[in-house]
Symmetry: C2
Subunit: 214 residues, 2 copies
C-alpha cells in the first residue's frame, strides 16, 4: 500500500458552494491550461506527457488532453472540415476550462493551426488561465522525424490538407512560452514549462487573500 | 496563507507515461462519476453541491458538472431536439470520463430522462466508474417545490416537452444509489453518497497492487 500524504484541514470556506480557490487549496496548486501548439512532429505530445510526469512526481494534479483521449471520445463525431476543426478546438477549450476551474494543471496537445481558434479559447478563459506554448520546430525538422509517417503520406498526396504541407500553420504572435525543439531536448522544454508554472504561482495553493478576491 | 498539507512522495511509477493510479495516489482517492438523474426539482443540484462541499471539506478533489458550467459552455451549440438532447448527455458523459480518468470524483447533475442515453454513458466507462444515483421524488413533490417556476410555465404550455409534464422521465432500473428526497433531507442524501464512496474504496488511494493490475 502506498501511504497517502496528510492533507490540510485548514480550509477556510464556510457553508455553501465550494469555490475554485477551495479546490485549489486542497490540491496545493492553482489551475491553468498550458496550450501546446505546433506542427505535427514538433514534440507537443512528448513534452505534454513529460511535463505531466514531472508534475505528478512533484505531487501535483496534472492531466493531458490529446488526440488519444479526445478525438476518439468527446470529438469522435467531428471530421476535418473547417467547421469541424474549429468545433474540435472549441470543445477542447471548453473542457480545458472545466479542468482549470477544477484546479488542475491541464496540458493540451493539438496542432491547433489557426490563430482565431486559439484566440477563441483564450477568450473563454480568465486572464492567466490560458497559457499558449508554441512548440517551435522547422518543417524540415518535423518532416525528418516523421514518427508516424504522416509527412511521407502527405507528400504523396494521401492526406489532404496536412498542416505545413498543404494547409497553413499560423504561428502564435505572442505566446507566453516558446519551446524551440530544434535547439533543445525534451528535458529542457519540461524545465522551461515547470519554471513558468513556478514563477506564475501555479505550483502553490492560492493565498486566503487571493481566495477572498476570487 | 492557508497551510498546505504535505504530499506523499511514495510514488511508485517509473519513467514514462503517468497512469491513472499514479494520479489517484497523488489525490488519495479513486476517480468515479456519480451520475445524478431525476426530475427537475428532485434535488439533484442541491445534493451535488452539498456532496462536493463535504468531499472538499474532507480534503478530496471533487467537481460538479451541471447546467451552469456545461450548457453555456461545451454544449452551448445544442438545442432541445431529441438528437441534441442525446448529444448533450453524450458529451457530458465523455467529459465525466476524462475527469474520472484524471482521478477526480465527479458529480453530474442533469435530468437525463432517457434510459438509453444514461446507459450509453455507462457503456463508455469502465465497470465501477459510472455510478447511477436516482434522485427520486414524486412529481407532486417536485411541482410543489418549483423553485424556478418551471412547472408553472410547463403547465401553462409555455415550455414544450417538459420532463414529467409533457415529456417522459424514464426512471433507472438498477441504479447503484437511490436518494428518496420525498423522505429524507439533503444531509441524509449526502451521507448516503459519501458512505457509498467510502464503501467502494473511492476515498482512499489505490493500492500498489491495484496499480499493477490497472
Amino acid at each position: 500500500m502506498a501511504s497517502t500524504g496528510s492533507r490540510s484541514t485548514n480550509i477556510t470556506w464556510h457553508e455553501g458552494h465550494v469555490t475554485r480557490p477551495d479546490r485549489e487549496r486542497i490540491l496545493g496548486q492553482r489551475g491553468v491550461t498550458i496550450w501546446l501548439t505546433g506542427l505535427s512532429g514538433s514534440g507537443k505530445s512528448t513534452i505534454a506527457v513529460a511535463v505531466e510526469g514531472e508534475l505528478v512526481r512533484r505531487g501535483h494534479a496534472a492531466y493531458v488532453l490529446d488526440g488519444d483521449n479526445v478525438r476518439h471520445g468527446l470529438n469522435k463525431n467531428l471530421g476535418f472540415s473547417p467547421e469541424d476543426r474549429t468545433e474540435n478546438i472549441r470543445r477542447i477549450g471548453e473542457v480545458a476550462k472545466l479542468f482549470t476551474d477544477a484546479g488542475l494543471i491541464v496540458l493540451t496537445s493539438f496542432i491547433s493551426p489557426y490563430r482565431t481558434d486559439r484566440d477563441a479559447v483564450r477568450a473563454l478563459m480568465a486572464p492567466g488561465d490560458f497559457v499558449e506554448a508554441y512548440v517551435s520546430a522547422s518543417l524540415e525538422t518535423c518532416e525528418s522525424r516523421d514518427v508516424k509517417g504522416l509527412y511521407a503520406k502527405a507528400r504523396a498526396g494521401q492526406i489532404p490538407e496536412f498542416t505545413g504541407i498543404s494547409a497553413p500553420y499560423e504561428a502564435p504572435e505572442k505566446p507566453e512560452i516558446v519551446l524551440d525543439t530544434n535547439r533543445q531536448d525534451v528535458a529542457a522544454s519540461v524545465a522551461q514549462v515547470v519554471a513558468y508554472l513556478e514563477r506564475e504561482g501555479h505550483l502553490h495553493a492560492p493565498s486566503t487573500e487571493a481566495s477572498a478576491r476570487g
